[in-house]
Symmetry: C2
Subunit: 190 residues, 2 copies
């Protein structure tokens, strides 16, 4: 019941800063000093909230998952038509153009990095994908797809990831837009 205390504020600031830095610089390339500085917290005080780097990674993943859940709920409330919901998903590429071109997809790049690190939180990070997969699958089911709803959801996610990788490698946000348009056309045929 002490949510307004300085402590909780510091904790949240650390998570927010880590979330941003993990995306921009990568997990392993982000030091405690980087996070502490960005959060405006003394280095030593850091360990009052997070004992290990694994702890803060876990907190960041949980935060991102929560953000995703909230976003999907918003979309579901805003768009009654499942097809419009799927379209909204594709439109991430358009709305996040600038970031994707520079840093790729937050989910995709984190999972890629954790896989190479053979990090214990790898599975947990992949569950961010699962949130999207389940939600997308549900929309495809509402459109009448039974056996292939799951495959369609995974395929749609793969398209977004592929577009993000190429756009990031080439620093080409125009390509991102073309891929988004192409995916929207594909959606109409499904």
């Amino acid at each position: 019941m002490d949510m307004g205390s300085k402590g909780e504020h510091s904790r949240q600031r650390i998570i927010d800063a880590a979330d941003r830095l993990f995306y921009i610089k990568g997990f392993n390339q982000t030091s405690f000093s980087d996070i502490a500085e960005a959060a405006g917290v003394a280095r030593g005080n850091f360990y009052y909230y997070f004992k290990t780097k694994d702890d803060i990674l876990q907190a960041v993943i949980e935060k991102r998952a929560e953000d995703i859940r909230r976003m999907l709920e918003d979309w579901e409330a805003s768009y009654p038509d499942p097809r419009d919901r799927l379209r909204r998903y594709v439109t991430i590429l358009t709305k996040e153009q600038q970031h994707i071109e520079k840093f790729g997809c937050p989910m995709g790049t984190l999972c890629t990095e954790l896989a190479k690190l053979r990090h214990a939180r790898q599975t947990q990070a992949a569950e961010m994908f699962e949130l999207f997969r389940c939600w997308l699958e549900k929309q495809f089911r509402l459109l009448g797809h039974k056996d292939d709803a799951r495959d369609l959801a995974l395929h749609l996610m793969a398209r977004e990831q592929g577009a993000a990788i190429i756009a990031n490698a080439y620093h080409d946000s125009a390509f991102l837009q073309r891929e988004a348009d192409d995916t929207l056309r594909w959606l109409d045929t499904v």
Copy 2:
């Protein structure tokens, strides 16, 4: 003309070891000690061949580019039909299943990491993609595509990258196979 000397052997062993480790562990996560150990070279001796970590990254990128060029030449020699050549490209996903599931695509993951590091060799790494893009574009042109050959090449690359990301995140090589099959069907409609 001294290609059989011990020196050149060491240099090549270092490059080969770095190539493998950069793929498996990532560039920044691979230390000089890791490479030296894997190559069977003393840590100090390392600097006789490569002054900085940037130097060895450059050498690895050049090696990978050379491997790609050779592979594309082989494909061109083996398959007279441009459509078969495009199919061969898609089949990478099948042949490299095991590696992709564990470590993703060597090109894609390296470009992603260098982008986050804001590394100077980022552009050079992206030229590995360019080798594929040019070659794929040429095949699409041979199939009669004029204005959209370039876009088709980029789209095909994005598909492979997307499949690799999802397969890596889920450690699911069966998905990789389904995406490969799906892409082959798409190729038939182009």
